[in-house]
Amino acid sequence: MNRALLPLLAFIILVVFLGIGLTKDPRKLPSTFIGKTAPTFNLPQLHDLKKTFSPEDMLGKVWLLNVWASWCVSCRAEHPVLNNMVSKNKVNLIGLNYKDEVADARGWLARYGDPYQLSISDLEGLVGIDWGVYGVPETFIIDKKGVVRLKHTGPVTNKDINEKVMPMIKMLEQE
């Protein structure tokens, strides 16, 4: 091979790798929880603060945990998608109201609709830390054994629901 072509070849390889780098979103971190048991907690329910909820209550069911807040702008963009999803499919959707005021959160759901079976109130954001939440909204899929199987950071779109979320739920229901 011609030696003069070597630098060109090295350059092309570099460009290919940089090109791959450009298509990736550095803000998306891989979740360290995939394949691990979901962190446990026991928090008051948003609509009835005397009642509590813990992930153990959902054992035996495939369920989604969606982290949301009334102050979160992308959550508003995501909200119609979630409303649409629960109206068309049978999904156990639990909301984690992250670092919010109870009154604001209730008002927000009253205004934009409530797709959640129930929401839990994480005023301090401590459960958020346990679940490694860093950008609201985030969505987790948890299987029947209580293991986290998928994490989506940022608002889910209809495309995500159809191509990622629903197929995953259907697969986990079979397990």
Binding site: L29, G125, I129, W131
Partner: protein, 154 residues
Amino acid sequence: MKKLIVVVSLLLAMPMLQAAVEVKPFQNPEYEQRYKKLINEFRCVVCQNQNIADSNAALAKDLRKQVFKMINAGKSDEEIMTFMVTRYGDFVLYRPQFNSMTFLLWVGPFIIFIIGLYFLINFIRQRNKVVVTELSQQEKEKIKKLLDEKEQKQ
């Protein structure tokens, strides 16, 4: 005069531009030292080019609180690191731990350096090599003939 007023007011506003100073009651000075060291080691996952000491993000604030709580509870640096890594992954550490995943990250530059050194040495050696080739018998005779011819002409 106008300029002076602007400069003075900007100077007065400076403390407000810094991250809020948080007063935290430590049980002993050693804890405070460790706290300061640790919050400089963790990356803020929201604003990824800052550590949690510098960041004003709500999450960074919560994580500082968490580190403080764990130190005062007598947790070791190791335990606090593990706490953060299990939640946010190796990415949260500004100095990632040495393991099979981060192996190339740590060793890569040295490998590239050694490869470069190898090529450099090879290059220098080749350049210094003086090419000495013996003349064959035929060539010697040819030279002799040419020289003889020249002498005859003179």
